[in-house]
Amino acid sequence: MSPFSHKSNTARDELGLMLSRQIRLTHSGGPNSGPRKDAMNTPAKPQDHKAAYTGADAVVACLKHQGVEVIFGMTGGSIMPVYDALFRDGSIQHMIVGHEQGAAHMAEGYARATGKVGVVMTTSGPGATNLVTGLADAFMDSTPMVAITGQVTSNLLGNDAFQEADMRGITMPITKHNYQISSVDELPGVFAEAFFVALSGRPGPVLIDLPKDVMTAPCDHLLAAPSAPTGYKPPYRGHPLQIERALKVLAQAKQPVILAGGGVIIAGAHEELRELARITGIPVSTSLMGLGAFPAGDELYLGMPGMHGTGYANLALHQADLILCVGNRLDDRVTGQLDTFAPNAQFIHIDVDASEIGKNLPCLVPIVGDAKPVLAAMVKGVAAWDEKPDYSLWRDQIETWKSCYPMTYADKSPAIAPQAVVELLGRTLPQEAIVVTGVGQHQMYTTQFYPFKEPRTLISSGGLGTMGFGLPAAVGAKVGAPDKEVVLIDGDGSFLMTIQELATAVRYKVGIVVLILNNNFLGMVRQWQEMFLDKRQAETDLQPPPYARVAQAFGGLGREVSTTEELVEAIAWARAEAAEKHLPVVLDVAVAREALVLPMVPPGGANADFIPCPGQKREE
């Protein structure tokens, strides 16, 4: 039985049913409907309150109303009443984590795998501040998340009380929105809005700070949403006249490129993207966050652009006369030196967040809207063209670049090339398997050499570049998608940062494969030291613990791998064990210590001046 199936407890189910009926009734009755007397006699209600419910009950009712299946978190002094209410209710799965940062990344992994809102819950003070990295990560990568943090009682607020931290102030710049609830009456409205804000438009993390007295305050009605005035109206369709203009500009282009980002995956617009590319014949490049939106191996696919992108993607963008940028924010890792990026190109920019358009580069045709309806409208528009533009010369040019700068790597056997491990996984895993990464060289090898073909198959920390993201995100992804195989490709530096979540994976029987590309280095920094700092290896030589044995000590499985021959068998073993025993299986793979991520655009350089793969020469 899956550890995440709902418990069947009739009394609790009944309460849940009543609560959900209450929700609907109060909604239709408007904000002034009184309490429902028939819902008050429930076996699980707390004894020490005269009113039907407490604020904590309202929190649980709101979460259920939003369809929350699982919460990642850790209890503590200021959040206990909500945990008590969760316990009494019993219908929402909760997973205790090793550290609150892990909870936040699990929620991200869950959200990225499912497209649903990830929910975390922590106590006040340190519990809440430990979420900060995860919130910032989710904010950068537009991941829908709701974080519920306990807070000291209202009369102590601002007094430097025990375990008090100003979470609203701290998280203001790294959340899409945040709230501090001051009365139990606000609860339902805030929760409804929080989930809507987190998921709609450009998704992001939302934090709700909940003083303890609000949780224990008597509460007569669980759902009464007083609507606050708001200008929050996420755009959707995209202006039809702008789409028309985009088509007009597109029809005149000679050397166009589509640059797709994570927005395409969030919007579920991969089919529309593929269709547009197919009927126009325009080549497509995807940023790290967009990997999987377009199938690797397709003849129109250019791979990832930017700092560690393919040479041909960078050259194509450099020579393009038109870039159709969709759900991509033209981050510095994509563009390199801005004034040298795509010098001849005009931009059509589709984004649901207007502020991303024109932020870094001037744009000819801005289209503010969700990628799915906008791309669908463009497909329709292109289908109506009398004659299709002929890009064959342009594609021939790109083919030439592809043959000049193919993705290769140095193989210094007997040492295992890390890229070879990724390639092997790519040949081995089914196409719908979810690959999670940490941050560093192993992450870049994964993006370069793993053939992502489906959306939501790569879960990686893109914008914030959070080392330690991998393990908890993989756990969250497996919880969200229990039927899919989840493989974490991690580095020896990254893995150590959140290694405590092995305990979580073991406790809740989360069967994931962890493949550590172990070079005993903080490899990406070492690479920069080698290339730009005369090989001075300041604080990058790691002596990581024996991860296979650490995994065993946590109650998982582990094995060390040091030869290519062992690798194939070890991967098969790990996959089988993870599937069968529902445990984390760690493969600690010793890889070539001084491998380099190439191609590489030197920091501050122009994308067209990339350092190519070994054995290739950059001409022009």
Binding site: G169, A228, A354, G358
Partner: protein, 199 residues
């Protein structure tokens, strides 16, 4: 300082909203020239009037970033629009007997008011747009300014006037005031017209 733009922001009247807006400016390196906050006729809504220094692309970003905030209901960029703009200045200035007449003349010219007088000097109060207040300060400076306090500039668009139609709804059909739906900037508007001309 001729690249100042008055921007009017309607926000939810809730705790921390000013911190959200000012934090945004600090974080993204936008320069605030002045800022004023007050409730509107609807107690649930406040208006933040902010004057920002920056070139058009910067102002474009300011407006878009403000619109991202969930607490923000509406953002109007009043740059170049026919508008009424006022700030209040209080200024304590040296006023020896032989100079008082001259100072009171200035008060008349600027339609200022004398709020207080004693042997130490005068407290004057004047309202007006930026240029008027700056001119008043410049004229008082030689007399010796002891203390000065001023409010942020507040502004309101004129709904009647030669350009009012253009600003409320532009020629090509974009409702410039309609936030959250299409959100097109003025620069984009001009480009759109150019694309339309091509054939």
């Amino acid at each position: 300082m001729d690249n100042l733009s008055p921007i009017s922001v309607l926000v939810r009247n809730e705790r921390g909203v000013l911190s959200r807006v000012s934090g945004l400016f600090a974080r993204r390196g936008f320069n605030i020239y002045s800022l004023a906050v007050g409730e509107t006729d609807d107690p649930k809504v406040s208006r933040i009037s902010v004057v920002v220094a920056g070139d058009p692309p910067v102002i474009d970003q300011v407006v878009k970033q403000l619109r991202r905030l969930v607490s923000v209901i509406k953002v109007s960029d009043l740059t170049g629009r026919p508008r009424v703009e006022r700030g209040l200045l209080m200024i304590k200035v040296n006023a020896p007997h032989d100079k008082r007449g001259e100072l009171l003349q200035l008060v008349q010219i600027f339609r200022a008011r004398v709020d207080h007088v004693d042997n130490q000097g005068l407290i004057l109060e004047v309202t007006g747009n930026r240029e008027k207040l700056e001119a008043f300060i410049d004229l008082l400076r030689p007399h010796g300014i002891q203390e000065m306090a001023r409010t942020g500039q507040i502004a309101m668009a004129r709904s009647q006037g030669p350009m009012a139609d253009y600003w409320s709804e532009s020629a090509s059909g974009y409702d410039m005031e309609e936030e959250g739906t299409y959100n097109i900037s003025r620069a984009a508007e001009r480009l759109a017209q150019e694309i339309d001309k091509q054939d």
